[in-house]
Subunit: 342 residues, 2 copies
DNA sequence: GACTGGCACTCACAAACGCCGAGTGCCAGC
DNA sequence: GCTGGCACTCGGCGTTTGTGAGTGCCAGTC
């Protein structure tokens, strides 16, 4: 049985009312607050159907209705238009992000901004190494047998690693090594580097071979294996808004999940995301057990149209989806522009 | 009126019982659980005195007694011996910290370890720049007018900053600048560098003067003004143990305070701390309004006997002080050793 | 003077109860 | 297909009542 227009209107109204009042909404209140031109009894019939179809449910007999995860899903997909941002919000975004001094700062400001605007928990992934390319590699002799390897990515991210060399390496050789490495790897995308690193060792003359191969193994680790993905988090205090009414009684599992970087990465990890798309995960659509009571709105971001990381917010399933989606994608767009300006 | 030995025993017993049961403790239960060789009535008299003196209080008439912040303070100062760590805990610490690959890793492992062992919120300050010294400064030409300034501290911490030069700087000059900078600043403690940076500009010949002075201003910023202090946090989920019984009903203010790095730094900031001392802040001794319902156990850490940062845990005033103090100082000691090995 | 047993008193907490009203489902009629 | 009417359900709330842990005080004993 498909739902006619009025039933969809009813669902939309229920979602909107419930999101703003946080209380089960009844048939009478609905006709009053929305100008549905029918009587409560009619609405009740519609609601019965919507309930059969699994879009809404009653917390208990003789209570109003509450949207189910499925109901929110339909609402998000079909029944809502993305809210345009208010001028105040636009200004807030600009003010907040202008004046960031470096990459870390951009990320930290962004995550706070998101948390503040959406009044939810915000998560921002640092620009991923694996998706960026090498701008420069530097070797800094620290002692005769120790070299600090510093990699600078085009996103501005810097990784460093101390390398213990098998033999003392004179300064002149360090320069040669550096030149060779930069010529080979400079400008390359990190994902493409492993074979190049191999070549590098093979192309090195025997005098430097040992040193280069030591460096190479650390390079591989730094560039690929340890593409450690950092995450910034803000707004956890927002979880306590609305009492513990949301989240079926316990913040515990949510706080726990939020401490697992791996979990967060999975959530907002932007692996196969189109940069223009904003993804919404509602309640039990979420793969992470502990976060079944929450919804996540996330998107990828990056300079131009390449995605270098993800960001998003997490909150109760009962959230203002249109507003949140608008905010998340606007912020991502601004951050992308900032990254593009380098 | 001073408290005789038995009254102190009573206070100690009350603290211990309350910490483990989390329930107001009455006179009868007290004589049963501890072999005080007197009757409940006697204990009641003692308790009345302890209450007059402000060490304990009754949540309501006809309830047992609960320690006050003042009571905990006396307990910590006079009535408890630091618990030796269990072998299991020692092993846990070693296992956890061995195998850290770099400084960030050490800090992250440490904070998780602390949270896990104490079952509280743990906070670790990254080794502070201001307390460390310059191991090496590197200039990396990124384009003709852009130079990446990388500073490596002796704690292994790395700071980088992109500098926009007023004029193109040829590679050879970059080398000269680098050499000059390193000769002047290498090995110096960061706090001592500002006057040296001044000298540096003055000693530079006129051809490079402009470039050097640009670098100098950024250097000053990086080395001193922006001695940005990072912080790692873990175990926030532990706040929810014991219901919201602790923390007088709301996690909100605590979560908020924990998001303010500045606040955390103030808490565990190790400014004038002796490395061997472990500091305990109980309840309202805490300067931060929002954390009046919590206690903080903190200490400084660093290689050898210099303090390069602070670490600590935060929990309900009703916490196991002897155990927590022991854990925090043990972990700090281990971390210090690791840093010393560099 | 220090300790104890006894006793009356207090009060939080839990269970039981009744009431109210929002909200429902169903049905007969338009 | 919509509506008004009606009987019914049940969660929430305020009241009442009982229970028991715990207290303060006092008179008596060592």
């Amino acid at each position: 049985m498909s739902l006619d227009d009025r039933k969809l209107d009813v669902l939309r109204a229920i979602v909107q009312d419930y999101v703003s009042t946080q209380e089960p909404v009844g048939s009478k209140a609905l006709v009053e607050r929305h100008h549905l031109r029918v009587s409560p009894a009619t609405i009740r019939n519609d609601m019965a159907v919507l309930e059969d179809e699994g879009y809404i449910r009653q917390p208990h007999t003789s209570a109003g209705r509450v949207p189910t995860d499925r109901g929110y899903r339909l609402f998000v997909d079909k029944l809502s238009r993305i809210k345009p941002l208010s001028p105040a919000e636009r200004r807030a975004i600009e003010r907040f992000l202008v004046g960031a001094v470096d990459l870390d700062d951009v990320v930290h400001r962004t995550v706070r901004l998101l948390a503040q605007l959406t009044r939810q928990v915000a998560v921002v992934q640092f620009p991923s190494l694996s998706r960026s390319s090498v701008r420069h590699l530097e070797l800094v002799p620290v002692s005769t047998t120790r070299i600090m390897l510093v990699m600078i990515a085009d996103t501005g991210r810097v990784e460093q690693r101390l390398v213990e060399m098998p033999d003392p390496v004179p300064e002149a050789d360090v320069l040669r090594l550096r030149t060779a490495i930069n010529e080979k790897l400079g400008g390359e995308r990190l994902v493409d580097t492993p074979p190049l690193v191999q070549d590098l060792v093979e192309e090195t003359d025997s005098g430097l071979r040992r040193a280069m191969s030591t460096l190479a193994s650390v390079l591989l680790e730094t560039l690929v294996e340890r593409t450690e993905e950092r995450i910034a988090l803000a707004g956890t205090a927002n979880l306590t808004r609305g009492g513990i009414l949301d989240f079926q009684g316990s913040l515990r599992p949510i706080l726990e999940a939020l401490e697992e970087e791996v979990v967060l990465l999975k959530l907002i990890g932007s692996a196969e995301q189109d940069i223009t798309a904003t993804r919404v995960l509602i309640g039990d659509e979420n793969e992470i057990e502990h976060l079944r009571a929450t919804s996540v709105v996330s998107t990828g971001y990056g300079p131009g149209s390449t995605v270098v990381g993800g960001m998003g917010v997490l909150g109760p399933t009962r959230m203002d989806y249109p507003g949140t989606i608008a905010t998340v994608s606007a912020v991502a767009r601004y951050v992308g522009e900032i990254l593009a300006q380098n």
